[in-house]
Symmetry: C2
Subunit: 314 residues, 2 copies
């Protein structure tokens, strides 16, 4: 059977705390899940052993074998498609370069495809979500950081080294906020959950108001709903920052659509309405009215697993 | 014979003032040239008639026929690869959309391929120049404006509408200089010949000095050579602006190399030395030390024709 004919694929989403595995049907439904505590492992071989076991358990629970799956896809921070390795991921305990594709293929008789989480999410959007049939689009993940996956001519953009698609670290404001990457003014510092909360804090400080230490990005949607003008203004400013960044991305690849995924997108109209307005204003005239801003059509809970599973059919 | 086996291709570079035609060998040597005054024509059909005649004369002078050429490639401002049209080019007298591919194919029995001038130049770099064998690179043209052509996975990036690759209009400095496109802070306002001269004027003004009205970007190289500290500083500042823009482009496609072409590049070490230094400083750490900044290896005089001719073998 060719890959595409296999009834299932396994998607693995590796995070700093947890590793989530899912068994995904060809239609993009995650029918079974398995979890592993990434944090319990400081050594890559032991982690690969446990991960291979988790895959075996996942398949056994469905009463299927490796021959029933198209392959295993892995989305991981700093995952490199070309080498199949996770390279110096700051949020993982494994140090240096972990050849995870190789380690997994040595343990399981199937093809393993690995890339970073945002690239995986973009491919998931193309295979199972709103980007079906699109050849040129960008997916932006808003969360702890800001990630991106870019598709051009129907193919993922990996670049010469496998690390393309880091729009979260495009410089939006020269001399702007200090970024965790050591540089200044990156989009991530304005559009990540943390950056959005910082915008709120700064707005309140300007009005002589303190901000509770435990406020989260999620709270800002409820606050905006309840009429907090500065929370509303925070979403508007976030939309302006994001609009500029996305309009710059359009000058590069002129995509049919830009998809947004992740926690801050749950702000809904507070973010998306001003974003669409400012995005059109920021665009060079030849690009106006052509690129849609859309929410990802993958369910937030399953998006990472679906993205990873989609890689198995790449 | 397949396209690649034809001994020649015709490259046509359309500018606001002149149209240059060249007969190019498979090795990328322009063996014959022909010219036409674009400005003499305000009507597209008459222009297409004259252009078709110029192609016939070019071939006749070499004693060859249309069957000896792989095809005709055209680089034109606002040229659209998908539609084969020139769309609302501000520097041309033809108004609206000119279906030039169609007009030319109706007059000459060969395939005509059309795109914008910077895309053509990038493809010329890949077929005949320094990007042979590269699958991921960017070419930036510095001149009256700033253009770009982007190659990803060995293919030109055209985007969903054919207009991708407008890095000259990525916003570099929000609230920066007013751009001819009506927006603010575009790279073009800092790295075009005009923008570079403006930087020099601003530096002199800050020192209480007037600047001769007729000073050109070319003069700034001679002035830097002769020890003019503000001309030297102008190149350094231009390098800083360009470094930031190029480092942002790297977050998108992580190219193996970025090629520079056009008049300002003749400043040589005044521009390139600080550019390479600042570019490395601007890059996100995972990209450092990986992307070369190179001068185009197409001779300036022939670059546009070679680029256009390369399209014929696309």
């Amino acid at each position: 059977m060719s890959k595409a004919q296999q009834p299932f694929a396994v998607g693995i989403d590796i995070g700093g705390t947890n590793t989530d595995l899912g068994l995904v049907t060809a239609e993009g439904v995650c029918v079974r899940r398995q979890h592993l505590a990434t944090r319990d492992f400081s050594e890559a071989n032991a982690y690969a052993d446990a991960l291979a076991n988790a895959v075996r358990e996942l398949l056994a629970a469905q009463k299927i074998t490796l021959s029933d799956i198209a392959g295993i896809g892995i989305g991981a921070p700093n995952g490199n498609f070309y080498t199949g390795s996770i390279d110096y991921a700051p949020n993982l305990q494994f140090k240096g370069r972990v050849m995870l594709k190789e380690l997994m293929e040595a343990r399981l008789a199937t093809t393993v495809t690995l890339t970073n989480d945002a690239n995986a999410a973009a491919w998931g959007e193309k295979v199972y979500g709103g980007a079906k049939g699109m050849n040129d689009f960008i997916l932006i993940t808003l969360g702890t950081g800001v990630g991106s996956g870019i598709v051009v001519n129907g193919q993922m953009v990996y670049g010469h080294d496998g690390f393309a698609g880091e729009l979260g670290h495009a410089t939006l404001r020269p001399n702007g906020r200090r970024c965790s990457c050591g540089r200044r003014g990156c989009l991530e510092e304005y559009a990540s959950a943390r950056g959005i909360v910082q915008t709120y804090r700064e707005l309140r400080r300007r009005h002589g108001l303190e901000t509770p230490a435990d406020i989260t990005c999620k709270d800002l949607t409820a606050l905006a709903d309840s009429g907090d003008a500065l929370a509303q203004r925070t979403w508007e400013q976030t939309a302006k920052h994001l609009a500029l960044a996305l309009s710059n991305a359009v000058t590069f690849s002129s995509p049919e659509a830009i998809f947004l995924m992740g926690g801050p997108v749950r702000a809904g109209h507070w973010l998306l309405d001003p974003l669409r307005i400012h995005f059109e204003k920021c665009l060079l005239s030849i690009f106006q009215g052509k690129t849609q801003i859309l929410r990802s059509q993958l369910a937030d809970n399953d998006a990472a697993i679906l993205g990873a599973a989609a890689l198995a059919t790449y």
